[in-house]
Symmetry: C2
Subunit: 353 residues, 2 copies
């Protein structure tokens, strides 16, 4: 069977492009002595996680306990980091059950989170690794000063059931190096261990070597690209492995085409392109602008296209942001040069807990 035989919309992955991306990023991180810890939130599948580990990854990153459970119970008993404040007895119990089976490191940015980890680890009789999360400019979670990081590190180091494993941040452009250095030095002066210095994010992945202190790096979309990475020059069209196959269902005006792929298929993510927004790059019509969507309709401006798509025509679309896009789908069809090799269930889809 070929992908041209599949009904649309459908999410397909080009195995040649996937393998190429896996290899080129693994080679980069290997060459700089930085551990590659792929984030499974991008693909949410056992199949790709297993390939990442087989290719030399130092472990996996999962964003929620349910994602880590999917990996571990799926047979990938590897070293897993969950860079998230995990709170409340139901999740802490599940986290400790995982820590019994494999090496787990969670993050914390508050004493509340750290104390919860310790209480649960004691109750379960396990050791949980903990890293202090640093605020690195995303204005999300994380402590904002080296002094706060040190105080939290001391607390982690002092509490039973916990093993202080260092620090992490997101994102980690080269500009955050001074904050990382200051924190590392504070830990050193206090005699605290800091074996892990973990950076993250695809946009700065190939600049990780500019922060020599990094021991490992969390990265998700490197394997598949997407319109944002294409336009930023990080991936070529050919390297954008994960695509939505769509069909033109309406041409209501000369300048507008409607795809069967709206926000429920593409995700609602957009990037600025020109003086507007884009929800996807249409490979066959690079001059088209996928400017908006409702849930089941993709709205495309085809004014600039010399040849215009016709009703019933199929196109390949590179989504803007693959992580939420994959989360909309139950399966990914894996192919090589268009020939279907496998259908992968998106097992970690929707794991919000």
């Amino acid at each position: 069977m070929y992908i041209d035989d599949l009904d649309t919309p459908v999410l397909v992955i080009d195995l040649d492009a996937l393998e190429h991306n896996l290899e080129r990023y693994q080679r980069y991180f290997d060459s700089h002595g930085i551990g590659l810890r792929p984030h499974i939130k991008t693909h949410k599948t056992l199949a790709i996680a297993a390939r990442q580990l087989a290719g030399g990854a130092a472990g996996l990153t999962c964003q929620k306990v349910g994602e880590a459970e999917t990996m571990v119970w799926g047979g990938l008993q590897t070293d897993i980091m969950i860079p998230y404040n995990i709170l409340g007895k139901p999740k802490l119990d599940r986290l400790m059950a995982l820590a019994r089976q494999t090496r787990i490191t969670a993050s914390a940015d508050s004493a509340h989170t750290v104390r919860g980890y310790s209480t649960a680890a004691l109750e379960w009789g396990v050791t949980l690794g903990v890293v202090v999360e640093l605020e690195c400019g995303h204005n999300r979670t994380g402590v904002a000063t080296a002094a706060d990081a040190l105080a939290l590190g001391k607390l982690i180091d002092s509490l039973p059931g916990l093993e202080l494993r260092g620090i992490m941040g997101f994102p980690t452009p080269p500009a955050v190096r001074p904050f990382l250095q200051e924190t590392i030095h504070a830990f050193e002066r206090a005699g605290l261990p800091c074996p892990i210095v973990s950076g993250g994010g695809t946009p700065y992945a190939l600049e990780a070597h500019l922060i020599p202190e990094l021991t490992e790096y969390r990265v998700g979309e490197y394997i598949v690209g997407g319109e944002g990475h294409l336009r930023a020059g990080r991936h070529t069209v050919e390297e954008c492995a994960l695509r939505v196959l769509a069909t033109v269902v309406s041409r209501p005006t000369e300048g507008r085409a409607i795809l069967d792929s709206g926000s429920k298929t593409m995700s609602a993510s957009t990037i600025p392109v020109g003086d507007g927004q884009s929800m996807g790059f249409i490979v066959e019509y690079p001059d088209a602008r996928f400017y908006g969507a409702s849930e089941e309709h993709g709205h495309v401006d085809v004014t600039a296209c010399v040849r215009k798509p016709q009703i019933g025509e199929r196109v390949q679309v590179l989504p803007v942001h693959l992580c939420p896009c994959v989360n909309e789908h139950n399966e990914i069809v894996a192919h090589r040069a268009g020939r279907v090799e496998a259908v992968w269930p998106v097992l970690a889809r929707g794991k919000v807990r």
Copy 2:
């Protein structure tokens, strides 16, 4: 079990509020002699669709063939409209199989779509109802003039296997009445039947009577509200039946709280509030501003809150747009006054085909 016992994030529905909304909208449409054809894309569950039908709905609306299959094979062999151009043999075969089992009406805005319907209906030996879609200001699909609608109506009426059932549009504010009237008159003059004049959209639902030509109305979010409907005065907080239970996982600064519910839980939908955007209304903290999110983090500005939420505290959040929010979840927990009565699978989740 009570919803306070559920781990977060979790989507819960208040049965009292749901039943209240079902009744008040059914009463409105009954009083004006307009058929209520609820759109199942909002809830995607058999449980709510069955209640809508039991309460007096004239049938259901589904946006994709897979949604209609979920309803029909789930036992709800009711009158279903799919207001979408359905193209390609795989979907047309499934559509005709449904039309063998129950009354189905699909829409079309092109001769291409209409001819596909006729060919498939002939092959399957069934009759498919077809309505002409009118462009009603959304700049999405639909023909833009009464003359184009008439031409398409004539084609539908002339082709075997099809039954011309009238016209539909989305959205249908009172301002579109002249276009509807002009099209109806054109059909009348040409001797074409037009038994269905179908409007749609929750924002204008309670103004449907201002277009007396409407025979039926498609509406989804009326049953559950949401922050947009709350701020527009269409639903009170109490009438917002569907909520995300979330936990505060971080308070990195005095003014910021982070919830365990990001765009993967809430959907990425936003509405303008004040000089920014909102991704949800926090019931316990009406002065807070849920101003942004990453996939697993909800970013909340709590500067304006006199009492501020603490780490570990649980809150109820009214999402902005419930249709994409529900599509992120595998189940909805139904409760009455906090006591859990059922867990409903979101069976039509992810039905993009």
